[in-house]
Amino acid sequence: MSGESEEERDDDVRAGEYVLHLLDPAERAAFEARLEVEGGLRQRVALWTESFAALAAEVAEVAPPAALRRRLEQAIAAAPRAERPAQPRASRFWGRLAGIAAVAAVVVGVFVALNRETLFGLSPAIYIADMESADSPFVLRAGYHPDEAALVVNRSAGEVPPGRVLELWLIAPGASAPVSLGVLPDEDSVTLTVPEPLRPVLAGATLAISDEPPGGSPTGAPTGSVLAAGPLNSV
């Protein structure tokens, strides 16, 4: 092996299982939360996708019924493409992230200043994660305050679905499964204490929010949709 770490090999295997659709729903959701933010993982998925697509060469071509072409012709006549926004959703998502990065210095300054006032006595945050998703309206920001081991999670957009709760997950770098940091009370700002064993792995980790039944995931892994995710970056 050409110097690949065990973590990298695990990521390769997991990415292969993802492309083959072998992960169960919870594993798939956790993997997709990481895909949102880890470029390296997307490259692994891309390599498997391209490689396996070559297997389709052996699939026999079968002409579909002529009626299908006529149905499609009618459907596209009724739904002109030109009315759609030209920009792909994914680009908007990453464009927004780039925008956030561009103003990060200002925003982080404001965030820390606000917290110094409102969260009386907390040390300045050293890691901040902006959590969002192209598929949901949720926008949250989490800041980690090392002296108190406090993670302050502020929600600026998104309503908790009736009869459901939000659960916060930590996905350590290279980890295949997320670890629950707990169920979030339905409040705009929540402060959690990060358990000691998890503190050293916060740098470079990803935070994700999933939608769960009351009391949180019954399985110890996310069971509902990933509503938002983002990496913890150094301030």
């Binding site: 292969g16 391209e50 389709a56 071509e61 019924p65 499609l72 493409r81």
Partner: protein
């Protein structure tokens, strides 16, 4: 079969809302994509239904093709296979009451990654050839027929955990071979 450049031109035409380009793309690729749906679903009516959804997705989302960086046939094959497997899994979701059916994120690899990947795609057959027959067969069964670990274990008459171990080791070996 048309050249990748031809298919790409038709996808880009579709992204511009050109109906003639879209129908020509359908004429060039629908037999392959229908074959893929049939292989996964093994039911003509369902495969036809999925194929229609797949082409409507292609019509609506052709502008995302540029951003995802895959080679043109890989993109079409992946959209078709994902559509068919989602349908296949939905049959079971009803039975198992799972409430998660997440979509594949639609942001793809960088163009650089896709370039590297496409030069490697031709190697997959050679690399599968380096695996034992059963193990290569399990990988193909997962890709081409959308089989789950449970179904693969039953097909090959081994315990579920043995199948997981087999397949994960096969993926490791494949990755080593593909990047050699």
């Amino acid at each position: 079969m048309s050249t990748p450049q031809e298919i790409e031109r038709l996808i880009l035409g579709t992204a511009d809302g050109d109906r003639t380009a879209f129908l020509s793309l359908y004429d060039h690729t629908s037999a392959k994509l229908y074959g893929i749906c049939l292989r996964v679903l093994k039911d003509r009516a369902e495969a036809e239904d999925v194929l229609q959804e797949v082409f409507l997705k292609i019509w609506r989302n052709a502008d995302r093709y540029r951003a995802n960086g895959f080679s043109p046939m890989t993109w079409l094959i992946t959209v078709a296979r994902n559509g068919a497997i989602d349908r296949l899994r939905a049959r079971r979701v009803k039975a198992e009451d799972l409430d998660v059916v997440t979509e594949v994120p639609d942001h793809g690899p960088t163009p650089e990654a896709a370039a590297v990947a496409s030069s490697e795609s031709a190697q997959v057959h050679r690399c599968l050839g380096e695996l034992e027959t059963d193990k290569a067969g399990a990988v193909k069964g997962a890709y081409l027929e959308g089989l789950t670990y449970q179904e693969l274990a039953e097909n090959y008459g081994v315990p579920l955990n043995t199948m997981r171990t087999w397949l994960r080791r096969s993926l490791q070996k494949l990755k080593e071979c593909l990047t050699r």
